[in-house]
Amino acid sequence: MALLQISEPGQSAAPHQHKLAVGIDLGTTNSLVATVRSGLSSVLIDDDGHALLPSVVRYLPDGDIDVGYSAQAAQSQDPANTIISAKRFMGRGLKDIDVSLQPYHFVDNNNEMLQIETRAGIKSPIEVSAEILKALKNRAEKSLGGELVGAVITVPAYFDDAQRQATKDAARLAGLNVLRLLNEPTAAAVAYGLDNAAEGTYVIYDLGGGTFDISVLKLSKGVFEVLATNGDSALGGDDFDRRIFCWILEQSKCKPVNAQDTRLLLTKAREAKEWLTDHASAQITSILSTGEVVNVSLSTKQFNELTQTLVAKTLAPTKKALRDASLDIEDIKGVVLVGGATRMPQIRLAVADFFKQSPLTNLDPDKIVALGAAIQANTLAGNKSGADLLLLDVIPLSLGLETMGGLVEKIIPRNATLPIARAQEFTTFKDGQTAMSIHVLQGERELVSDCRSLARFELRGIPPMVAGAARIRVTFTVDADGLLSVSAREIASNVEANIVVKPSYGLSEEQILAMLKSGFSAAEADKQARALAEAKVDAESLLEAIKNALQQDGHLLSLNEIKTIREKIDALQANIHAGAGDANSNAIIRATEALNAATENFAARRMDASVSRALAGKNLENLNL
């Protein structure tokens, strides 16, 4: 069946063909994928016309994985196997998160990244996020009709190294080539800035489902220079839902509720929050699994009071960012609102009040990040774009090393423009010392215990010398993705020291390879199952056709010929009905081919006979040739 020859993806591409690249906003609550087509950035929709993909992954009883709306709809029936807001767990240990209200069976991993026990086995947040990315990748490849060259994936600007690395690992598991990790507010600035030909100093206020970022950028002739960024990687719209949830329980004097009811009421809380954007009060009604009835009314005023501390929590990082950029409120030309949570009127009021100007809301706060990421992806992939776009971003949190007494010495300060490299020299403490351990931390605080541990390095192979004679230069490099790498060299002897990296959070290279491999073998098993099913279908339709043909035109064959065909039919049937373990698509295909070959003459004779039959009794004029 070599009639349709379809070339390998990518190989047939003409030299200057448009390369397929997308921008992906991997959000806490919703995710999106966008691309640039005919010079315009647009969000890609699914078959049902949805632009948003709820960031919800459900592991189904039959082994399938459901992502998006259908998974979201099932969340209160099956909370333990339906993972929402996995982004909050990326690069985090169990001690970093508030496990109350979480219906999952967490697996404590001794200070490593937490995991969740599901019916499909133990899953890390990276694997959950990879499912969301796969769904978006499929949507994009279907919609664009080809394989993607790569993707720009956005992350909160305030994500630390572990969270960024986890995001990149998730993309790798999803089979995506990451062109760049891009900070969400920077992506939003690109979309806004290009759309409005904006020049000057702008603030991006980005309150998403689970993260808050504030970035101050200078926009000038296609250059987007981040002056300062700040935020809270554990503050978002989800927290407003929780405030309402607690209020509901308090008002209706409910007992502590089970996981299903928690999800149910959190969903009701979210709906009430959204309703209050355009209405003065929201009625919240629900019947719990215990039969208790919840029926309360929440006014805008009450909602504002419940959440005013959350709103205030966004203003402290805002002040810090302005101070780091050495700017006053009067210097800010505009404030762009990003993230669904900025639809809340109390947020808009607080921002307007703080900056003494109305925020800019002319781009959809849900889509602006994905649109900006798509523009950057298009540029990075090498497609010619009208604007000569350049993004100069910064590292959000300082990088430092543990020194004597549990203190942190800063090596790279926050808000330094990327890429950046800094070297630090160390020496040995004892005579003949050949190894030393170095602890890398990220954060602004002075004590090791208050900062995030990124990695511990062991430098080995230092030539033995007297104490203090060795000079080991350790270089820290942070690339344009905001990711750290370390190299070390003993200067006197020019010996490159071995570095053993043990990421404090996140996955080791071996773990990733193991996941890729298991993903691959699962895919391989799926492929084999599909091939077997297809081979059986083909074989059965051939058998059916031949049986019919024998019944109709058996007289065209000799007894011997019939016998041969019968043998081939039996062989094929034996192969089809082989036990589950022995079933082999190749054997079926071979038997099918053998039967096909044995019936070739028969088919030819039948063709002749049918032509003669059709022609019988007709003259040439009546023939439609």
Binding site: R180, A316, T379, A416, P419, D479, A480
Partner: protein, 172 residues
Amino acid sequence: MPSTNYFELFKLPQTFSLDVAILESNYRKIQSESHPDRFVTASPAEKLASMQTATTANEAYQTLKSPGLRAAYLLSLQGVTAIDEKNNQMPADFLMQQMEWREAIEDAENASDVSTLENLLEEIGIAGKSLQESLKNQFQHNHLSEATDSTRKLIFMDKVRADILKSIEKLD
């Protein structure tokens, strides 16, 4: 890699007073050409070269943009180490001034008095501006030992400013 002269990199005269607008525009020009974003699909060798150039440009830009660091860099080009852990001699009156500032910061922090801290920040800012004026002259006339004194003072003042900002942040 031979060490790059930061002034040459940005096509600027090797002086203390510099045109910040030219510095900015030339920095952006270099980044437009060398930033890793321009080499996402390039070979590993090109990627590495881009990373090195972009990193150097960032370092050079930050150094020249800050008056204290710029002065120290100018001195280093003349073989003078302004900031040396073994030799940080300061005139007695400046040491007194520094101690006064530090005490004022501590008092204001204990009293949670942000406005005093902000006033201090401004006061030091003004003192820094006048030091920069002196530095222009000192470098112009090649008075290196005076320039070294001024540079040390300026860098110490930057540290005090950073401490004040940290205190304000704590109180926020």
